[in-house]
Subunit: 456 residues, 2 copies
């Protein structure tokens, strides 16, 4: 009940982040009083405060710098397992007490796990902030990890996997495409974990993971809302500040990909599939691994090629040729290690999947060969930088962007300078990344196909 | 100079092993005096002695129960690196002294690395056995692992990788097919290591690996030849027996594969390719992971479907239809974890690769659907069990089969009872494994294609 499907929540979160990043160039962020401030507690816990005085609401988040890509080999799913275990009993509170306290004051809460981090948050009135901090600080160190809790919650996660992955051909395909695109880097492993490995997660695994990663010096507190930084600092010191610093963790250096020399495909044919579809993926740098300007250029390439209804893919395939029900592109830049760029499409009417794939390929080849026009690039920058988000989502989205950026080793300056860096991208840079990375002979394509009735 | 290309040496070794296994049913092995005996030294080192008095020659091998699949994440190539480092200086001998001593007595030596083990061997006159043991015991613990040696030998390995993998499109493809077939199990990682990871191997990595795995209690001594078990025991105690036992190692439990639900392809198009080819691979159990009878059935399935010129694939595609230059099947049963079954083919004359792949697929489908005849099965068993090997290879092959079986946790009884277990396989069992494992929708196929002159 308290969890979000990790793969989807990741994509969803990234969408929010992009929108949110765009927000920073708008008027609200020109005002100094809404600028983020940050400091570190004596035990190493980072704190970010983002004032937002429009309403008496506060978003309180704790980000742990650990995600599925940090799991030991053979222990897939343990990071996401904690997204569940953190809602169980501690030595001070029964399971459910924290939730009940939030419900009683009309707040809401949730948690999500990605490859690079795990986040827990509550949205409550400002006067409840100290209580939230007490609960959150308590579960950072005082979880009761007994065999019974582990066994029960493991069943819940297994059922989550069955219903969200194994019963969904698209999700099954996505996992195997991912593990074909990535052959060394841990992003190949599903965030929720593989069934046979989740089954074997035990108390010793949980204890080791908790003691290693759930420590103040591996956590970031983000508080956005109707609060003052000094008040937040005082509360944080009273609560989180009382926790003992954990052992220093080594740098997050993970195995990286070897060069890809082949074109790879992954095909799932399933009777449950209604409309066929495909997606092609390439390994590309992220904001954390790219040379200066490359990640920004990839973001704009993704926007121009396939970001929404004004993109080349949509206008050409969906609107003009009318052969596609959907077509687009995506770039997940906010990752600790190299990430992926993807394009996708699905046929409409009498068009075949092959026709759609060919047309998408033609647009990819054209943008790599001819680049983009200045006007097109400026319009994409404007869309990026001007995009606004619904007011009700804004506070949480702001907290998300700061939290996720810091959780992968970025800084507040990275967030604040992003619009400026986007503004600086040239047409040459966009062409260069398209040419360098979007090569058909070094790609990974997934096909989701309906099974003809006659086939076995 | 002293190394064998790991992937090829593995295949080669496995072929030798099969032939050798077959040999055990023949007359020579019915004689008790050639039966293997085994015992364990006080420091935990296992010893196997295989008498062979036909000639005054002895094969002396040390097998370490560590291969590339035991490497820490991000350290690919470290196991194979030791195949090189073990020929460098120790605190007692200069680099080259051991080789020179072997040459001086007209012996020969080599080493090879696989996914599951690393082996060093010398073939010498019996009177040199003690000297071999002294040298081999010395380098088990006294290697000088300094920065200069590491740096020099790392360059040698990098060059080996360049010449044997990166300059060979077939080898490049094989690596990526492997990493597409295996998405979790460490067999996905090349034995020689990925270029970018070999480059970073350093003295600390080497020291940790050496101290962990190069210990008497992680090694198996195999002595085959003109020797008596008691004499071998006495020499082994005088030499290896003086080494201190190392810390106990945990069981070799590695990540295993999730279920495969997709059909995967990997295509390499390269101007250097002359004749196109394909191979299709499936994850199947090995002798160590299979239910009783399954591995033996897979061995016979491989023999009937594609083992040489009497196999279905060869007779149908190469001889009868005349469309293939080559066609066959393979099963690598002697592995610690789940392994692979594969089929392959290449076109001849005006036939296309697609026609050959389709014809191979038809034979696979037919054997899964209709099974094999009793006569066909009996003939395959006979071929397996009667096959003999050239006399000059026999002693080393015998040592190989015992060493490799014990190195993956098998026993002498496993080796000795193998012909009997092969004899017991039924036609139903062969059909069952074909039907269960060789499913087109859950396969991984590699394509090696020539690049048309016009293409980029």
């Amino acid at each position: 009940m308290l969890t979000t499907h990790p793969a989807r929540s990741l994509r969803c979160l990234l969408a929010v982040i992009l929108l949110c990043l765009a927000f920073f160039a708008t008027a609200a962020w020109a005002r100094d009083e809404s600028k983020a401030t940050n400091f570190t507690l004596g035990n190493g816990m980072e704190v970010v405060v983002i004032p937002d005085h429009r309403a008496p609401i506060v978003t309180h988040m704790v980000w742990y710098k650990v995600g599925s890509a940090d799991e030991p080999p053979g222990k897939s799913g343990i990071a996401h397992f904690f997204e569940h275990l953190m809602f169980k009993a501690t030595s001070n509170h029964e399971a459910g007490e924290f939730d009940a306290a939030i419900s009683a004051i009309g707040g809401n809460n949730n948690a999500f796990t990605s490859y690079d981090y795990t986040c827990f948050y509550e949205i409550v009135p400002p006067e409840a902030l100290e209580e939230m901090m007490r609960f959150e600080a308590d579960r950072m160190r005082n979880l009761v990890l007994d065999d019974r809790t582990i066994a029960t919650e493991r069943e819940v996660v297994l059922e989550e996997r069955r219903s969200r992955v194994d019963n969904d051909p698209g999700a099954v395909l996505a996992e195997e495409v991912n593990a074909t695109l990535w052959q060394n880097q841990p992003y190949r492993i599903p965030v929720i974990g593989w069934m046979h490995e989740i089954r074997q997660l035990n108390r010793a695994d949980a204890r080791a993971f908790y003691d290693r990663y759930y420590r103040p010096n591996n956590a970031i507190l983000v508080v956005a809302g109707d609060v003052q930084p000094e008040a937040v600092r005082a509360l944080a010191e009273k609560t989180y500040g009382q926790l003992e610093r954990g052992p220093d963790l080594p740098p997050r250096v993970r195995p990286v990909e070897p060069e890809q020399n082949t074109r790879r495909t992954v095909t799932l044919t399933d009777a449950r599939v209604g409309v066929p579809g495909f997606s092609t993926h390439w390994v590309v740098p992220s904001y954390r691994t790219a040379k200066p300007g490359e990640a920004e250029a990839l973001d704009l390439l993704s926007e121009i090629l396939g970001g929404g209804t004004r993109s080349r893919l949509y206008r050409e395939l969906v609107v003009k040729q009318g052969i596609a029900a959907s077509a687009g592109a995506g770039y997940q830049g906010n990752m600790l290690d190299d990430t992926e760029f993807s394009v996708y499409g699905a046929p409409r009417g009498t068009a075949t999947l092959g026709e759609v794939e060919k047309a998408v390929g033609a647009e990819v080849a054209r943008i790599a060969r001819e680049g983009v026009s200045s006007e097109e690039l400026e319009r994409a920058k404007d869309r990026f930088v001007r995009a606004t988000i619904f007011a009700r989502d804004r506070q949480q989205a702001m907290a998300n962007i700061y939290g996720s950026t810091l959780a992968i080793g970025g800084t507040i300056a990275d967030v604040e300078q992003w619009p400026e860096r986007i503004r600086g991208v040239t047409t040459e840079q966009v062409k260069a990344v398209a040419e360098r990375y979007l090569r058909p002979a070094r790609s990974t394509t997934g096909y989701l196909l309906p099974k003809p009735a006659a086939e076995n």
